[in-house]
Symmetry: D3
Subunit: 248 residues, 6 copies
């Protein structure tokens, strides 16, 4: 199967890291098709940037959805996930959703651990959108600046391991969800330092999208993610306009 | 005070209708500054269109926020409301938020009544985003097509009055929130036919933004709607890029 | 419009302070009609005193409701608010309700900050009655005695500013709701010391009651706040008996 | 033990009925001390009347609390229950509280069945005050007038049995809580007609207050129901003023 | 009335302690019939042991249910309580359920205080099964080993009193639920050291089962605890098989 | 990888059906190891039978856990899932859990559709144990008897397709979770008749356990599913006693 690994951030370095992790965890026969946001910010950290990232994600999907079997929306926070499911017929999972639902099979309470306080308000909304507030015991964030988004996982490795440990000891986390596309790949390096299961969201997402594609499902013809009727558009890209107007 | 009445839909006719209602309910000394979405769809009905509408809203705010005292995000569903509050320092209210919170002072349970089933899934997410699920007893929607978005409030006047009545009788609504920018102005015409208070969301929004502007508040320097730090951008409009990059 | 500013406490000094604040924030054309509880305690702090204050409030409304366009129930905790809405046809808002709903437009989480631990249990019930538990992150209270109810806002000004700051830092409050009629007027003096918006509930209440009166609503003919049918009474004041017995 | 059976309604006939049921279910050695509200309405049906009934209840307790071991607040809706617990040191239970908590030991979901739609909004608030919304599947009410409050249980016996049956069949009730002081005594007559356990709230209340008195508990010295500090009062009855002022 | 005091643990010493407490609090005319689990562990502390304890409880009930009027499932956590209610027609209460529901009549928030961290996860599930999360402010546990399960209440008396006090001061508990069959009998010894009411769950359970037996209820013929239809079994004890197969 | 497919029911025919479905959906390299409950009932339908089935499941796991990489608890309702996770170090998923969490990636609301009303109360508790009440819009059940548990999926195929359709139309289900081990394999036959995605829980479970085994997780050393300390046992099977006593 072909899986679109859609990074709605503009950082190519993140796409590379995500692709490396997804490939490592992919099943035999799964092909990863990477894509990077054409506009926006290097890494999405808040609701304003998520609005822009969601648009970037819809653009990529409009261009490539008919060439793949499923897609991963590869930013924790899952910008535009509901919108993407409405517009396109293939299964799509978000990094946050995949990480959190997987965590639910490993413990009662998970903690989200990430590298910057700037991400907290948006991640909280993401937990609520998934209606998983009762399963999330904490969002723990480092509060110091970092040098580069592509190397934050290396620079903060020790601090993130300690923060995960604090989430276990102080917040009662049964599982750690290591959050943020820039941290993909880190869990394998620090899980021996943390006494509970630790989720790499990119790894979880590739397994979950493989699961969905395998399950022989149909696109919904009604309900919350049913494709909306055709509508006129103004000022959109050709691919996205065509999709909304039912010309593709 | 000057209030930006921001219609994130591309329909000028809706801007005109909204302006007419806002002006009717505005206090002495309130000036309404209308604006219409430069790209997107004639009326936003779902999450995919809301992603686009949210971008359109951020664009307008980037251009005009420093010339007004407050803003109304004039689409029920409030596309990009959280994003807008992060990026800009003025008070901003959404049509849905203003209508629903006002309804909370008039009854225990409100029902949302609108003109198309296409709006239901998005409106439900809006109720949840506001954490008002316990106060919303139903979202009632007409299920037949309509002729034009600018005239749907006229065409469906009788049916909407009946639907509101059904929400009272069958769902126990204490208050009716007439939802959707295209229905602004209708409440005044049909409230005599419904036995409970009926909210015109545009009217509620002008009163609520006037309230916020009057209250002598400060922009948050921390917390969920604190302005994010400067960040590089790629491919955005000049005004929006300048705001995100802290050049304006 | 004429707004009854109903202080259900027996302290005239509080009525004077509340009137001063309401007048400062009132729109052009709004006339404030102050009234003070005829029996009860100097300031209501708990459920037992709220029962008595609610009776006092109903008495005042029974006497004056037909001479005003709306009323403010001017004790945080809103004693008898639901009862008042049942019995009388004019819009009525409570200090707590107005403050908390206004806060919902400014942040995700508000904290209630007040001057005495004696108020905590009652305020908690008030939050729950409004079904706003998910929006209230803390009720913070000073725990030392004060000299006089009319001067507590002066005596404790510094401590309350510090407590508000603690609610922001320790509880993650996005907005501060300064609670308790005796604190009305304080927000304007200390808001520069707190990094998030701070609500003066009396100011919020005058704006909210103005909004409701402006919205052209009808009294409910059914639902939770519909006026009950006539019923015989024993031992009540003439005005309240007349209202319950449908003789007025 | 001596148990004050406090009817906050003014109807002596209800006091008689309640006393008869309480006596029938009381343990050997329990003495019932009946009391009737001195002012208010014949039967409390809404929040306005509950404010008055709560005052009446506090009056009776102020006069008699030191002569009994515990008290039953004998109106479903439990007007002033929290207030009463604050002011007085003896255990006190409400009819609604006792009925609903007892029902929780007999099924997952209970339905409240009563004789008039006028009671619905108030009963709903009572369920919420007890935070038992997840256990209450319905409040079912007869919607026709009745002849006399003292005979409503006889007049409506068949209709109430049918309504209870409907709550089982249509709402999935595992237990029926027959609600309202005027229905005390009815359960024993109709329980053979309903396929699930049916609670007589007065019977439940006498068992629960006996339980509390037996359990060797202490009055709280802190927490939500701790007695408030002394406070001056104006215009209250001698007994209530003395209690609030800590002179008794 | 005859009450089966069913200890699903294998420790006879706990049965003795529980019987002593139940007898002390039982009404005149109540006969306690003690029983001890025939297989399993000395004291149930987690979900795995609760599965085994639930089986042991069903066995005892299968043998003795028709010789008693009601039963107490005497392990906090109430292993198999729902199962027991399905299979048998007599009223049955659990230690946890009885303790927590009784606490609800004494305060808004209760804390569970117990002797070992090993019990926490299971107790938390028990609170959730009863849907009392909003009433439970904390589960506080000692974190040191103890010498013998029959003497833990003596060995840890001081530490448990201090822990209860900490639950009041740090978690805002209005009531203490002293949890775990091994702690039965302790509350009477330490309640003078704690400023809020303290519940002995065994004492609460005997009062609650007496209440249920007194209330003249019927076994459900439908709903969640209705007896399941007959079904074939394999490999079960004679008594349990007979009950499931409707041969007894 | 080797996956234990643990059927806690005693019906070999169900084990055969489940194995057939799991094998069909398993990835290349996954080996299914089937096992059937040694005691209990042909199919578990309620809490009483789930207690017994949970014991049967623990027995099988005690015997085989060290020979496999993961396990599926193959009865919807997931009897003993928490207990199994505590006692054993391998990943384990339940049919219900896997089906419901997978459904969460396909819609906002799922409905559970099954073949007998006897299953409803237990399934409801399972939804609550997973804290997915907000995502489950209905449990729909056929209410007529069936001939044989091994052929119920054939006998009721049409009725179940219609019931699924009703759940979509009447309850607003975005996804159908076809529930109960006896229905495994049916989804592939009827999904063309239902307008939303339909989950076969056995298929979902094999994909989810493959995901968990692939994710390189560690067994928890603390938290809710940490293995309990060694404890003496009485009267248990050799394998289970050894595991609880830490001799294996």
């Amino acid at each position: 199967m072909k899986i679109l690994l859609l990074n709605p951030n503009t950082s190519e370095v993140l796409t590379t890291q995500l692709t490396e992790v997804a490939t490592r965890y992919a099943a035999v026969g799964t092909e990863i098709v990477p894509a990077t946001g054409a506009f926006g910010v290097p890494y999405i950290a808040n609701r304003a940037e998520a609005v822009i990232g969601a648009s970037a994600a819809l653009e990529i999907l409009a261009q490539q959805h008919d060439q793949v079997d499923g897609a991963i929306l590869a930013a924790f926070g899952d910008p535009g996930l509901g919108a993407a499911r409405e517009l396109f017929d293939i299964p799509i999972v978000g990094l946050a959703e995949a990480g959190m639902l997987t965590a639910c099979m490993l413990g009662k309470k998970f903690a989200i651990v990430t590298f910057s306080t700037a991400l907290g308000a948006w991640y909280q909304e993401c937990v609520e959108w998934n209606q998983l507030q009762d399963r999330c015991c904490a969002i723990r964030m480092l509060d110091q600046p970092f040098n580069s988004i592509g190397a934050v996982r290396d620079e903060k490795e020790d601090l993130l391991a300690e923060l995960a440990l604090a989430a276990v000891r102080e917040n009662g986390a049964d599982v750690i969800v290591l959050a943020g596309a820039p941290l993909s790949g880190l869990a394998d390096r620090i899980r021996h330092r943390v006494p509970v299961p630790m989720i790499d969201c990119c790894a979880a997402a590739i397994k979950q999208i493989e699961a969905l594609v395998s399950l022989n499902l149909k696109a919904p013809e009604t309900g919350t993610y049913c494709r909306p009727g055709a509508k006129d558009t103004t000022g959109l890209s050709a691919a996205l306009a065509a999709r909304i107007e039912h010309r593709s």
